[in-house]
């Protein structure tokens, strides 16, 4: 198949690292029947049940994940866009890395990738700083109606991305938006979907959707900290601000890094929000982000080789980042667990 998807060693692997135990099972499979033949048939029944319970999921995994990923790799190497228009290439021939070279040499693809990196440079610091600040404030014990505040902050995450984009698009549209209307009455005309403002406007949509969700994740990590450590620093005379920044924050470092890296991955895949905004502003073209590029190449231009190669490039970026997350979190949480 050659899916090229080496699974990043999962975060949960350490405790039961690949146990190829043949027959004498310790722990979980201790059975009443002592006879060795009975044990073997029990083992067979277990494996049968395990197979039955896993088959539906792995059938899906094969059909809607492995086969498509394999097809994408195959298309990227074999589909020749110069002959194959319309319904797949009639005579698929090996074109090697030509599609990859075409994608990487295409300024609209690299510009999209660069745009997403710029997006991340604005978005991720804002997201991390905002959610960390909120989580620390919620954890400080000084917030009134904390459960309600949490609910309110989390609410945007239940709004589908497309509808979040609709809401904000209308709040950015003069003549509909009450905010812009007020500003205009004060003599301040702002174009929130202009050349320089469209990217920050888009950042705002995504930030609004995800701020509360990430706050809850960091808050959960803060709640899991041993209270003695925090109380000890209070006894030492550290004020609440110093406790938050110098005692609590370093201890949830791995959660903060995980939040940042996951946000990076999902930003690279950004599609829905810019797709909707592109209906109303010419500042977002049909190849604004890598995902939009793939969609445009596959379904507007029918360049299957180009779309597949761009998909594999995006997939490679994602896998590299996931791998980085796993390495980082394993390293960051390792020493803490030993303590």
């Amino acid at each position: 198949m050659g899916t090229g998807a080496p699974p990043p060693a999962g975060p949960t692997t350490p405790d039961t690292a690949t146990a190829p135990t043949p027959s004498p099972e310790p722990g979980s499979v201790r059975r009443a029947r002592p006879a060795p033949s009975g044990r073997r048939s029990a083992r067979r029944r277990e494996l049968f049940a395990c197979g039955v319970l896993m088959t539906p999921f792995f059938a899906l995994l094969t059909a809607v994940f492995l086969v498509p990923v394999g097809t994408a790799v195959w298309l990227s190497l074999f589909a020749d866009d110069r002959t194959g228009l319309g319904f797949g290439p009639p005579n698929p021939s090996f074109v090697g890395l030509r599609s990859y070279l075409a994608v990487l040499a295409d300024p609209t693809f690299t510009a999209g990738l660069g745009r997403m990196l710029l997006f991340c440079l604005i978005y991720i610091p804002l997201l991390v700083a905002g959610s960390l600040l909120l989580a620390l404030l919620l954890d400080s014990g000084a917030v009134r109606l904390r459960a309600w505040a949490q609910l309110g902050l989390y609410l945007p995450h239940t709004v589908p991305g497309l509808i979040a984009a609709v809401i904000w698009l209308y709040l950015y549209t003069p003549g509909i938006s009450p905010v812009l209307d007020l500003l205009a009455r004060g003599g301040l005309g702002v174009d929130l979907l202009g050349v320089d403002t469209v990217l920050p406007s888009l950042v705002n949509v995504v930030l609004w959707s995800n701020l509360g969700y990430n706050t809850v994740i960091l808050f959960t990590a803060l709640r899991a900290l041993p209270r003695e450590v925090v109380e000890a620093s209070v006894v030492d005379g550290a004020g609440p601000v110093r406790t938050a920044l110098l005692v609590k924050t370093p201890q949830i470092r791995s959660a903060v890094v995980t939040v940042a890296l996951f946000s990076l991955i999902f930003t690279l895949q950004l599609f829905t929000e810019p797709m909707l905004l592109s209906q109303s502003t010419s500042m977002i073209d049909s190849r604004f982000s890598p995902s939009m590029y793939i969609f445009d190449a596959a379904f507007n231009r029918n360049s299957y080789g180009l779309a597949a190669a761009a998909s594999v490039v995006l997939l490679a970026c994602t896998i590299a980042l996931s791998y980085a997350i796993t390495r980082w979190t394993n390293r960051a949480t390792g020493p803490e667990e030993e303590r």
């Binding site: 692997t13 039961t16 099972e25 498509p68 905002g130 909120l134 902050l153 609410l155 809401i167 109303s280």
Partner: protein
């Protein structure tokens, strides 16, 4: 002494102000959606949202269900079927697989689990073209199944299912049932599944939201408007609104109605969301 009490008081005030500002940031756009959906078109376009005139929620909803021959109702029904049916089936499949990962030992188990985790991160846009080609070679493009089947795949649900099985299903109970002669499969369906039910509800909720939010796959697979989910329908109406503004009010009212079930589900089942978030965050 009183000075430190004063700083503590200003600290509290500052803390609450900052949190309140952020809560306003998250809530006001939703409040705008609610107000805008309740107002008539004149009030909407003149941005007079806070005045007391022009409230026409009932006729707005009437307009919504009358536009384009009442197609919105059809979209809404489709979304319910995709999301509720898909999430229920998906939760059953994922929970069973997660339980098997938690309970049984076999060779290369952790490598297989690593594959499941890797699948969580793969962008949907990467799979779209191959899935489309696959569906078209099977002749199911532009059918219900082309959207429904891929959305059943929920690797994160397997991850949650494994975590929940580790936590909720005591090994001793399974052992005791085995000694009573319960077969391995009825062990799952009769004994373990009951204990896993709260976990399965969490998986169901996460997948429900994911399917409700999805619009990329339907956009790729469907050309027949009758099969659209709400998100794709609203996307098309919003596109139409750029040339014919009479679509703006229906997009707004339609958006609000499309969000409501998710908000209600979230408020009613908060405890399940929280357990999912915790399991996802602690890892």
């Amino acid at each position: 002494m009183s000075a430190s009490a004063a700083t503590r008081l200003t600290g509290r005030a500052a803390t609450n102000t900052v949190v309140a500002v952020f809560v306003l940031y998250t809530l006001l756009p939703v409040a705008w959606l609610v107000l805008a959906a309740a107002k008539d078109a004149d009030a909407l376009f003149s941005s007079r949202l806070l005045s007391l005139e022009g409230f026409t929620p009932v006729s707005n909803i009437g307009d919504l269900f009358a536009t384009d021959g009442g197609i919105y109702g059809r979209w809404y029904l489709n979304t319910l079927v995709y999301a509720v049916g898909g999430a229920a089936l998906s939760a059953l499949v994922s929970t069973a697989c997660g339980y098997a990962f938690s309970t049984y030992r076999f060779r290369h188990k952790e490598k297989l689990f690593g594959l499941v985790l890797a699948a969580v991160m793969v962008p949907q846009t990467v799979l779209a073209l191959p899935l489309y080609l696959l569906a078209s070679s099977l002749g199911v493009v532009n059918t219900f199944w082309a959207v429904f089947i891929p959305l059943l795949f929920n690797p994160f649900g397997v991850y949650l299912g494994r975590i929940f099985s580790d936590g909720y299903v005591p090994r001793e109970v399974l052992e005791a049932a085995r000694m009573d002669g319960t077969g391995e499969l009825s062990l799952y369906f009769r004994v373990a599944f009951g204990m896993l039910l709260p976990g399965a509800v969490t998986v169901f909720l996460f997948q429900l939201t994911a399917i409700w939010n999805n619009f990329f796959l339907p956009m790729v697979m469907l050309s027949d408007q009758e099969l659209y989910p709400v998100t794709l329908g609203l996307y098309n109406w919003n596109s139409a609104a750029t040339t014919s503004p009479e679509y703006y009010p229906v997009v707004i009212t339609g958006s609000l109605l499309a969000v409501l079930p998710l908000i209600v589900a979230f408020l009613m089942l908060q405890r399940f969301w929280r357990s999912g978030l915790t399991a996802g965050a602690v890892k």
